[in-house]
């Protein structure tokens, strides 16, 4: 009990720090493990159990997410971005590692460790921004899911390359066999679970996990592959969402144990290891954003979204840690290489929130080739000026197209403005908060300015730049934003009002129907 308490107490300290610094928790969990092992010798049996159970549950939960429907219609873009990023980084990492003095096998592990980006970090940031279901959010999600699969497929192959590995044919055969079992459970087993009660659901899904994990052991392939396939076997809507919610606390408990226990395995790095880790981390952070931006933009994302995706993907994954662990357990990696992998992961994860910020994204967008230049001709006058051409902006354009008013659109995204221009709409590419842009768009002489830009802070800047004299309507989503806009002389328009009104219209219209259905349900036993 003392050992578990020590690990969880370390994890608590890590979470408190992460909350305070508003950073991803994972690097702090690892650091807490390192710190703990320095002051308290965690019993080895507990450490091992924590790692085995933790990695199983972690991969199981990762497998549960593998539901292609969530990516929406962005599958192609996700596949392209995911493959290019994974292959390019793996190749670069392999090429960099060999001259650094790693053996080819070690370089292989390191390359694999740099292949994937972190689902834990990416999803958390997307959720925080409420952009999980924006187009670029879906691409990022798709990329992460794809890379998980790639890495999981590659792990048994890399571990096979070492002296302790088995024959390739057997490994592939074993994976195929377990994959078939996975498909069978997915088809026939998973739907049964949707009807189970909570307690049964937990036990049945964990039974699936243990069956596949033990099956993998029996077939001689890594445990992580079995655990992942168990998750995939249940990754069908609605079972996966239900299992995900009910198993979440068990997953959180074992994940906290896993990452702190993993940290306890890390030894204090030497200068060489620090330097090597720094180089590899720099490789990830420098190469990923431009690479992803280019591929994502070519796959149909707007420049700004593509850039956001690139910044969001610039870290290594929690699976990198699993790869390092697998290599060490297999005897292919010495603790030094493992330490390098842990350092790279912790460093890139810590950097992500700093890199994937609004400020960085704005600054980098200025480097975009099709950036702002003064539009030809005199600034317009007497027009409606629309700042932001997203979903709201587009619907608004359709509505306004029926009236006679002339419309000018300002958007920071070159691909958006290009599309608008092709439809014969005057569009200017640039920051809505930039006075030069607003001047070129004739903000002072407009009848009215409407701001539908994504973030409220951008609207506030625009409001200051337009100045008084012109009415500025600003789309807001919360009452607090509305207050701030009013204080700055703008007219806030609370979007939900209209949506609520139209819902209530439907509600009043359907009152009789709702009553009938309620009565039916309450009468039937």
């Amino acid at each position: 009990m003392t050992g578990v308490t020590a690990l969880l107490a370390a994890a608590t300290a890590a979470y408190l720090l992460a909350r305070w610094l508003e950073a991803p928790a994972l690097p702090f969990l690892l650091a807490a493990g390192v710190a703990l092992s320095a002051v308290y010798p965690v019993p080895e049996g507990l450490l091992e159990d924590g790692l085995v159970l933790g990695v199983s549950v972690l991969l199981f939960v990762a497998g549960l997410e593998l539901e292609p429907g969530r990516i929406g219609d962005r599958g192609r873009a996700a596949v392209r971005v995911g493959l290019v990023q994974a292959l390019a980084l793996a190749a670069l990492a392999f090429g960099v590692c060999l001259p650094l003095g790693f053996t080819p096998l070690e370089a292989g592990y390191l390359a694999l460790a740099l292949t994937a980006s972190s689902t834990l970090v990416g999803v958390r940031i997307l959720k925080g921004r409420r952009e999980m279901f924006e187009p670029y959010g879906r691409v990022v999600l798709g990329v992460l899911l794809l890379q998980d699969v790639l890495v999981l497929l590659a792990i048994p192959l890399v571990t096979r390359l070492g002296p302790a590995g088995g024959a390739a044919v057997e490994t592939l055969g074993a994976i195929a066999l377990l994959g078939a079992a996975c498909a069978a459970v997915r088809t026939w087993g998973a739907p049964l679970l949707a009807r189970a009660d909570d307690e049964m659901l937990i036990l049945a899904s964990l039974s699936t996990l243990f069956l596949f994990a033990l099956g993998a052991e029996l077939l001689g392939i890594p445990l992580v592959v079995g655990a992942f396939l168990a998750g995939v076997a249940l990754a069908r809507f609605p079972v996966n969402r239900i299992v995900r919610s009910e198993v979440a606390p068990i997953g959180e408990f074992f994940s906290a144990l896993f990452f702190t226990a993993l940290g306890a395995l890390v030894r204090v790095p030497s200068a060489t290891e620090l330097w090597q880790a720094g180089l590899l981390a720099a490789l990830v952070v420098v190469v990923t954003p431009p690479l992803v931006t280019v591929v994502a933009e070519r796959s149909g994302l707007s420049a700004r979204s593509a850039l956001d995706a690139g910044l969001l993907l610039s870290q290594t994954s929690e699976l990198s840690l699993v790869i390092g662990l697998a290599g060490m357990v297999q005897g292919d990696l010495d603790p030094g290489v493992f330490t390098v992998i842990v350092l790279v992961t912790a460093a890139t994860m810590l950097l992500t929130p700093l890199i994937a910020s609004d400020a960085v994204s704005r600054r980098l967008l200025r480097l975009h080739p099709s950036q702002w230049r003064t539009p030809e001709g005199a600034p317009p006058a007497g027009h409606v000026l629309l700042l932001g051409g997203g979903t709201t902006g587009r619907t608004l354009l359709e509505e306004l197209a029926r009236s006679e008013v002339e419309i000018v659109v300002v958007d920071r995204d070159p691909s958006v403005t290009a599309r608008l221009r092709s439809r014969g709409i005057r569009a200017i590419c640039g920051e809505a908060s930039d006075p030069r842009v607003l001047e070129a768009a004739g903000a002072g002489d407009a009848r009215v300015v409407i701001s539908t830009v994504g973030r409220a802070s951008d609207s506030e800047d625009a409001l200051a730049a337009v100045g008084s004299g012109t009415e500025v309507l600003v789309r807001v989503t919360t009452e607090r934003e509305a207050r701030r806009i009013r204080e700055r002389g703008g007219t806030p328009v609370l979007l939900p009002e209209r949506a609520a009104e139209s819902l209530m219209e439907w509600y009043d219209r359907s009152a009789a129907e709702l009553d009938r259905r309620l009565a039916e349900r309450l009468e039937s036993p």
Binding site: T5, F253, L518
Partner: protein
């Protein structure tokens, strides 16, 4: 590779538990009995499962965390309300049961030392069984639930004392002075434990947890740590770890998110407890128990019939209704897993013979198994007695009246997600005088709403039960979380409840319609129309 022993051990237990649970559900037997049977099958019968260190650790963690859950559900006020009755009834019950049990054992021919010991073993009821049964029936907060838990806590103090005595007898040869000192340490420990918890609450434990809630799993892990720390403290003071966990739970029960925390801890506890009961069944020696068949049956009968009558009678004497007395009595009709611990340490100290462990084990298995079946029948039995056997009910002191009527919302509109849209919808519905239930995971967002509120995550089946989904007139989700919306629409559809959902991304409208949403809120497009409405008059006004 790693040693995967832990996977094999846990895997066997979980698979066994799941298999037997499926059967138990089909024939409507309580899960707890199923787990015990699974343990018996895997352990003594087939010998597949040998309980090792890791399984044992997780199982006991489960028991302790269960008490943390109980504490979470019982705030200080609720305990105070039943405290005096529970203390009196608990103390009287322990004394009488001990004497009856010891007497019966003497009559059955056990030597005096062992008879006293058996008396002690049948005295205590099983906290983990009782709470699990109450929890399954959703009755922890009812009067008989709180009384049962109260009696159990009094018993826990008794257990702590008994354990101290046994440890003292085996260690120092039973010198009165050292025994007294150890008892003193335990009592001081109890006071220190409560004081530590009170101090932590005073110095902002709640605020820290609340602040950390932005990382929900962090707050979850932090509260587990808090519980574990008090458990270790309790153990150091010679108290049971369960008592420590309970105090930890009560300390955070006042938080606005206590209920949400409860829901988070519960699946983990369910899982660990299944392991606990399987391990319990697997540890039994059937052969030795069979040799003492008569004694086992007699003692079991005392626990199954005598204890409920005693508890019920005492509660009746204390002024509780017969229904409460009967239900609490039935719930407490089994022996505690502490009896095993107690016996095991006594056997190890050479105070009693090895066979006694098998006797206690068998009595435990029988009484736990039977009470798992009978306790949920309390209400039905009460109804039967009211009609056919008022004389029996008089034993419980009451007159057979009083039936609590359950209160539940029906015909209400559930609004999920208190963003601006959700709040607006709640206000509009409230203006029309509709009964509204507003749901969000963040208690801050539920402030100042003209509606009933509930903190919770609608992804969880429990929360859907709590919002009374089956009786709702309509469910509206204003959430911007597509995964949650999909599951909610699916579940509403399955329950036949009309549902309206926010499609903030027009691309997913088809998905929602296919899942069976009755109405879609196109929040972004509607918003744009509102802008256009405001704009065109404004534009026309300036038009030359």
């Amino acid at each position: 590779m790693f040693d995967l022993g832990v996977l094999r051990e846990l895997g066997t237990a979980v698979l066994g538990a799941a298999g037997v649970l499926a059967v138990a559900r089909a024939v409507r037997l309580p899960p707890l009995l199923g787990y015990l049977v699974a343990g018996l099958l895997l352990g003594p019968v087939t010998g597949i499962l040998a309980v090792g260190e890791s399984l044992d650790l997780l199982a006991h963690l489960g028991v302790a965390l269960l008490l943390f859950l109980v504490g979470l559900e019982l705030s200080v006020d609720r305990i105070r309300e039943v405290g005096r009755t529970a203390a009196l009834v608990g103390a009287a019950q322990m004394a009488v049961t001990f004497l009856l049990g010891a007497g019966l054992a003497l009559g059955l021919g056990f030597p005096t030392g062992e008879a006293l010991f058996l008396g002690l073993a049948v005295t205590f009821s099983s906290t983990v069984v009782v709470v699990k049964l109450l929890d399954e029936a959703g009755e922890i907060a009812t009067r008989h639930g709180r009384l049962s838990v109260g009696v159990l806590l009094v018993q826990d103090v008794g257990v702590a004392l008994a354990l101290t005595v046994v440890a003292g007898m085996s260690g120092g040869g039973g010198e009165a002075a050292s025994l007294g000192r150890q008892l003193g340490v335990s009592l001081l420990g109890l006071v220190a434990l409560v004081a530590a918890a009170a101090a932590a609450v005073r110095w902002g434990l709640g605020r820290v947890l609340d602040w950390l809630w932005e990382i929900p799993e962090g707050a979850f892990i932090a509260s587990l740590t808090w519980s574990l720390l008090l458990m270790i403290g309790a153990k150091a003071a010679g108290l049971s770890v369960e008592l420590g966990a309970f105090v930890a739970g009560v300390a955070v029960a006042q938080l606005p998110r206590a209920h949400d925390l409860h829901r988070r801890v519960r699946p983990l506890v369910d899982f660990l407890l299944a392991l606990f009961f399987v391990a319990l069944g697997a540890g039994l020696d059937l052969g030795a128990a069979a040799r003492y068949g008569g004694a086992v049956l007699a003692l079991s009968a005392l626990v199954l019939v005598g204890k409920p009558l005693l508890v019920g009678g005492l509660l009746g004497a204390a002024g509780e209704s017969d229904r409460t007395g009967l239900r609490a009595g039935l719930t407490l009709g089994q022996i505690s897993e502490f009896a095993f611990v107690l016996t095991a340490s006594a056997v190890a100290a050479g105070l009693v013979s090895r066979d006694l462990f098998s006797v206690v084990g068998a009595v435990g298995l029988i009484t736990i198994g039977v009470s798992a079946v009978t306790a949920p029948l309390g209400d039905r039995l009460h109804g039967l007695l009211r009609r056919r056997g008022r004389g029996v009910l008089r034993l419980f002191g009451g007159d057979g009246s009083e039936v609590e009527a359950p209160e539940a919302m029906r015909g209400h509109v559930v609004v999920v997600g208190m963003n601006a849209l959700g709040r607006e919808v709640v206000r509009s519905l409230a203006d029309r005088g509709e009964p509204v239930l507003a749901v969000d995971t963040d208690p801050d967002k539920l402030r100042d709403l003209p509606a009933e509120t509930l903190v919770g995550d609608v992804n969880l089946g429990v929360v859907l039960e709590e919002i009374g989904l089956a009786r709702a007139r309509l469910v509206i989700s204003a959430l911007h979380i597509e995964d949650t919306n999909r599951l909610l629409v699916h579940r509403c559809r399955a329950a036949g409840v009309p549902v309206s959902v926010n499609v903030f991304d027009p691309a997913t409208a088809d998905v929602m319609r296919e899942l069976g949403a009755d109405h879609l809120i196109h929040s972004k497009q509607e918003g744009a129309r509102r802008l256009a409405e405001r704009l065109i008059p404004a534009g026309e006004a300036v038009k030359p």
